[in-house]
C-alpha cells in the first residue's frame, strides 16, 4: 500500500511539471495552431539560467527562481519574434519544422556552452531533503510544486477569463483574422502568450531540476513533447484540461512503471506515446475539448 502511495506522490510531482509546461503549450496552440517543440527546451534553458546566474552565486532560492523565470520569458519572446513571426501564415509543416530547428539549436547551444555532462543542481536542504512520513518519502519541494501549479493555473485562468488582454487572447484563438479586424494587436497578444507560457515552463524547469538535483541539455525535449500529450488528453486550448491532463499523464506513467514488473520500466516513453496515439483515435477532442477543428 505504501508503495502505491509512493508511486502516486511521484506521479503527482512529475505530473505538476507536465501541467506547468502544458499550460503554455495549450495557450500557444490555441492561438497559433503551432506545436512548439522548443517549449520544453525553454524549460531546460530556464533551469540552466537558475543554476548559472542564481545558485552559483549563492543567491537566495527565490531570487534564483525569479532569474529563471525572467530568462525563460526572454527566450520565449525572442523565439517567437525571430522564428515564428516571420512564418505567420505559412503551412503547418513549416512552423513545426521551424520549432524543431529551434529546439535542436537550443539543445546544441547548451551542449556547446555547458558540455553534455549533467550538472548538479542543489537546492537548500530545507526544501529538497526528503522527509519520511509513514514510510513514504516526500520533500517539501513536492508540496510547493503541486500547490504552486494549482495556484498558477488558477491565476492564468482568471487572467484569461476576466482581463482585457485575456479576452483578446480568447478572441485570437477563436479567429485570428477577425480579431485583427476588431482592432486587437495580434502580434502583441501572441508575444504575451509566449511570455506567460515560457515563464511557466521556466518555473517548471526550476522545480524539475530541484526534484532530480541535476540538469542536462536534453532534459527538456521529452518533457515538452509529453506536455503536449497532456494537452491532447485534457482537450487542447483549455487551461484546466492541460492541468488535469498533466496530472493524469504523470500519475498513469508512474503507476505503470511502478506496478508492472521491473523489466518493463524502460518502456515508459513508449507507453506514453502509445497512449497519445490511442487518445487521438478514440477521443480526439480530449476531456474538456470542444468540437472544433478536425484532427482526423
Amino acid at each position: 500500500m505504501n508503495y502505491i502511495i509512493q508511486q502516486i506522490v511521484n506521479g503527482l510531482s512529475v505530473g505538476s511539471i507536465y501541467a506547468l509546461t502544458a499550460i503554455g503549450y495549450t495557450m500557444v496552440y490555441g492561438i497559433l495552431r503551432l506545436i512548439n517543440f522548443a517549449h520544453g527546451d525553454i524549460l531546460m534553458v530556464g533551469a540552466y539560467a537558475g543554476l548559472v546566474l542564481g545558485l552559483n552565486f549563492f543567491l537566495p532560492t527565490w531570487v534564483a527562481l525569479l532569474i529563471t523565470v525572467i530568462v525563460a520569458c526572454i527566450f520565449g519572446y525572442l523565439i517567437e519574434r525571430l522564428a515564428y513571426r516571420p512564418l505567420r501564415g505559412a503551412s503547418q509543416d513549416a512552423t513545426l519544422l521551424s520549432s524543431l530547428a529551434i529546439s535542436l539549436l537550443l539543445e546544441h547551444l547548451a551542449m556547446m556552452i555547458f558540455t553534455p555532462q549533467p550538472k548538479a543542481f542543489h537546492l537548500p536542504a530545507s526544501l529538497a531533503s526528503p522527509i519520511t512520513v509513514n514510510g513514504i518519502i516526500i520533500s517539501n519541494l513536492f508540496y510547493i510544486t503541486v500547490i504552486a501549479t494549482i495556484v498558477l493555473a488558477i491565476i492564468v485562468f482568471t487572467f484569461i477569463k476576466y482581463s482585457k488582454a485575456g479576452i483578446a487572447m480568447r478572441a485570437c484563438s477563436e479567429n485570428i483574422i477577425a480579431a485583427n479586424l476588431m482592432g486587437i494587436s495580434v502580434n502583441k497578444i501572441v508575444s504575451l502568450t509566449f511570455l506567460i507560457g515560457a515563464g511557466l515552463a521556466g518555473f517548471g524547469g526550476f522545480m524539475l531540476a530541484g526534484q532530480y538535483a541535476r540538469i542536462d541539455p536534453l532534459m527538456g525535449f521529452i518533457i515538452g513533447v509529453k506536455a503536449f500529450i497532456a494537452c491532447v488528453i485534457g482537450g487542447i486550448g483549455n487551461i484546466y484540461g492541460a492541468v488535469l491532463g498533466g496530472f493524469i499523464l504523470g500519475l498513469s506513467e508512474m503507476l505503470i512503471v511502478g506496478l508492472l514488473p521491473a523489466q518493463f520500466s524502460g518502456y515508459r516513453d513508449a507507453f506514453v506515446f502509445s497512449m497519445l496515439i490511442m487518445i487521438l483515435l478514440i477521443m480526439p477532442n480530449g476531456i474538456f475539448g470542444s468540437i472544433g477543428e478536425r484532427r482526423s
Binding site: 503547418q92 509543416d93 529551434i102 524502460g266 513508449a270 497519445l276 480526439p284 478536425r294 482526423s296
Partner: protein, 338 residues
C-alpha cells in the same frame, strides 16, 4: 533506356570505380554516406514531399531495417557469443546480404502498414506527432529488448558488406522507381492529394489508400538504406535512430526542395558534406593566428539556423517543384562542332 541515360550512368560509375580504387578511406566514406542519405531523402520525399503527409518516423524504419538486416547476416560464430537470447533457429541462420536487406525492408513495410492504418487517419500536426511517437516506441523497444538487440550497447562487428558500387546501384534503382512512380497515375494522384485532398476525393481518388501505400514504400526504402548503413558503419546503437537523425533527413528534403527528385538529392549531398567541412571548426584550430576553441555541435547549430532561414525566405527549398534536366551529351558535342 535511351542513349543519354546510358551516357550519364557510364560517367557516374566510371567516377565511382575510380573513387573506390584510389580515393582515401575518409573521402570514400563521405561518398558512401552521401549515397545512403540520398536514398533516405528520396524515400522520405514520397510521403513528405509528393503526398504532403508530414512524417517524422523515417529513422524508426531505418532502425528496423538496420537491426533486422544485421541480425540476419551476422556470422553464426559471432551470434552465439553476442546474442545469446535469440531463438536457436535465428542463431543458426546466416543469410546473404541482399536477402537480409530485402527481408528487413519487407518487415519495415509490414510495420508501416500496421502503424499507417492507425495514424494516417490523423492530419497535420497530429500525424507528425504520432509518427514521432512511433519512433520513440521503436527506440524504446530496441533499448529494452536486450535479448534481441543487446540493448543500449547496440550491435557491433557487423560484417562490412556494403561498398560504393552496391550503394549507388541501389540509388539508381530507387531513382528509377521514384521517377516511374511520380510520372504514373499513382504520382499524379499523390500530387492531387497534396494540393487539395477534398478536391482529389471528389475526383474518385481514395486518399487513405494512397497514403498507406506511399508510407509503406517509403518505409521499405528507409529500411533498405538502414541495412546498407549498418553494414557500412559496422556498429549500430539505438541512440543513433532518434530525433537528430530524423531531423537531418527531414532537413535534407526541406533544404533541397521536397517536391523535387533532384532537389532531394542536392539536399542530401549538402547535408552530408556540410558537417564534414565544419569538422575543422568543431575540433578547434588556429586560423590567422587566432586560436579557436573547440566548438562541438556547431554544425547542428548552423544547420538549424539554415533551416529557419530557408523556411522564411525560400519555403520551397532550393529547387521548389522544379527538376534539373541533364543536357543531352550528343547535343553538346554537336554544338561544339558548329
Amino acid at each position: 533506356m535511351n542513349k543519354k541515360v546510358i551516357f550519364y550512368l557510364i560517367i557516374l560509375f566510371l567516377f565511382l570505380f575510380i573513387s573506390q580504387k584510389y580515393l582515401n578511406p575518409y573521402y570514400l566514406r563521405i561518398v558512401n554516406i552521401m549515397g545512403i542519405n540520398m536514398i533516405l531523402a528520396l524515400t522520405l520525399a514520397l510521403t513528405n514531399g509528393f503526398l504532403g503527409v508530414f512524417s517524422l518516423g523515417h529513422a524508426a524504419f531505418m532502425a528496423i531495417g538496420a537491426y533486422v538486416c544485421s541480425i540476419l547476416t551476422l556470422p553464426v560464430a559471432k551470434k552465439v557469443i553476442m546474442l545469446k537470447g535469440l531463438p536457436s533457429w535465428l542463431v543458426n541462420l546466416e543469410l546473404p546480404f541482399i536477402s537480409g536487406l530485402l527481408i528487413g525492408g519487407t518487415i519495415a513495410m509490414v510495420f508501416a502498414f500496421l502503424i499507417g492504418v492507425i495514424v494516417l487517419r490523423l492530419k497535420g500536426h497530429y500525424l507528425a506527432l504520432s509518427t514521432l511517437g512511433f519512433m520513440v516506441i521503436v527506440s524504446g523497444v530496441l533499448i529494452n529488448a536486450r535479448t534481441l538487440t543487446k540493448g543500449a550497447r547496440g550491435l557491433n562487428n557487423i560484417p562490412p558488406y556494403t561498398n560504393t558500387m552496391g550503394i549507388y546501384i541501389s540509388l539508381m534503382i530507387v531513382l528509377y522507381i521514384m521517377y516511374r512512380l511520380i510520372n504514373s497515375h499513382f504520382g499524379r494522384a499523390m500530387k492531387a492529394i497534396r494540393e487539395d485532398e477534398t478536391a482529389a476525393q471528389s475526383f474518385g481518388i481514395n486518399p487513405f489508400y494512397y497514403k498507406v501505400l506511399a508510407f509503406c514504400i517509403g518505409a521499405f526504402g528507409a529500411a533498405f538504406a538502414g541495412g546498407l548503413w549498418a553494414h557500412l558503419i559496422t556498429a549500430i546503437t539505438p541512440m543513433f535512430f532518434t530525433y537528430t537523425t530524423t531531423f537531418s533527413i527531414v532537413s535534407m528534403i526541406i533544404i533541397g526542395g521536397s517536391g523535387s527528385i533532384s532537389g532531394c538529392m542536392i539536399g542530401a549531398a549538402l547535408i552530408t558534406i556540410f558537417p564534414e567541412m565544419l569538422r575543422v571548426v568543431e575540433k578547434g584550430s588556429v586560423i590567422f593566428g587566432y586560436s579557436i576553441p573547440p566548438l562541438y555541435g556547431i554544425s547542428q547549430i548552423i544547420l538549424s539556423l539554415l533551416i529557419i532561414l530557408i523556411l522564411v525566405y525560400r519555403p520551397g527549398g532550393i529547387m521548389g517543384y522544379n527538376e534539373i534536366v541533364l543536357p543531352d551529351p550528343l547535343k553538346i558535342f554537336k554544338l561544339t562542332k558548329k
